[in-house]
Subunit: 212 residues, 2 copies
DNA sequence: GTCTATAACTCGATAGAC
DNA sequence: GTCTATCGAGTTATAGAC
């Protein structure tokens, strides 16, 4: 009996690194080229292993993609629980949410466009796998806004519009970096400075219309 | 001599519809599936013609894609000349720009994500074909803001940040429609109503911080 | 678990008849 | 200009040795 357990653990330990390497490689390749642009060979190369091994671990390209896509979808909405539950004012909370969000997205600028474009392209995957899973933590946000309206801290507004404004102002700029650089004729560095400046600008834009 | 001219015109007339049909079909298919996800067969089917004819008109998939991509890139920035050159106040102009932009994007919600994701994936195409072409009409916008600052109509601000805010608040919501519906748990109709409401909200958000 | 070799298939592109 | 038929490169997926 002990030997069986030992065999299992040895298997587990040897197994883990390959699986992790594959997931990291797949994430990178799928994000850069999308589902249909990515090649299993690219992923194998990036993981430093053989093509056949990908199928050993994940059976098919589609299964591997679904795994990566769902992980990405979940990552798109940062954990805001601690900010919302803190003792700060609504205004301070919104300020923290915005700058936290902008910071997160600087680390993964390709995530939003990957999720959105693949969502349009594979509604089946999306509906079957993502629908019905745990929802992102926006309920808490909506309740925060509604409570603040009730106790008179802020003007009456549609919480979903506020949320959509925050998301738009935080997510869009990093994903449009190459586009905006082109049309505005500015350098990468110039754009990064704009993003930095936005950590102050965005909260102001969001908060000002809420003040009485 | 007259016969040659006749032959030429007949050729032209017969040719035009097929070429147009192909371009319409290609636009539709490329936007939905991207360069690597689109199949020449899909495009041929959508155009109601044969696969070989695509190559007759556009030589290769890549050439056809470039044509569609460049057209799309140009369409992403609406002609704002007439609004900017009008006799309205800056505030009225911004209001018109926002609602005009939101209207345009409702008609082509897939355009932005198509342009952005393909731009990330094929920087070569982008640099060779789009770079160096006529720039979108944002120079006029920047000058409008700067002039309004100088003559004291609005507070001093970075015109590019104002532009980025407008673009973010107008472009992102329609392109994130499926995503936002999912996380907010609302219907298509509910989201469309939000978009309608935004034609008033967005200009307010942009204008308020500019007022003295 | 990991590899090599190869089967099975998809898709862009071309040849050639009309 | 438009079609049918087909080639050939490139890809996913599997069989089978180690």
């Amino acid at each position: 009996m002990l030997t069986n357990w030992l065999k299992y653990m040895v298997k587990k330990i040897k197994q883990a690194p390959a699986e992790e390497k594959i997931l990291d490689a797949a994430r990178q390749v799928f994000m850069a080229k999308g589902m249909s642009g990515a090649r299993m060979q690219d992923i194998a190369d990036a993981a430093g292993i053989n093509k056949a091994l990908l199928h050993y671990y994940f059976r098919s390209k589609e299964k591997l993609f679904e795994r990566i896509f769902i992980d990405a979808f979940d990552k798109l909405f940062p954990k805001l629980g601690s900010i919302i539950e803190s003792k700060d004012t609504v205004f301070k909370k919104i300020e923290l949410i915005c700058s936290e969000y902008i910071n997160q997205l600087q680390l993964m600028p390709y995530l939003p466009v990957f999720v959105i474009s693949e969502m349009n392209r594979h509604p089946e995957v999306f509906l079957h796998q993502v629908w019905g899973r745990k929802k992102p933590p926006l309920k808490a946000f909506v309740e925060l806004i509604n409570a603040s309206i009730k106790n008179g801290e802020i003007k009456p507004v549609n919480p979903l519009q506020v949320l959509l404004n925050i998301i738009s102002l935080c997510i869009f700029p990093p994903m449009a970096k190459p586009l905006f650089q082109q049309i505005a004729g500015i350098s990468k560095k110039g754009f990064d400075e704009m993003l930095e400046e936005r950590k102050k600008i965005v909260p102001q834009i969001i908060i000002q219309p809420l003040k009485k």
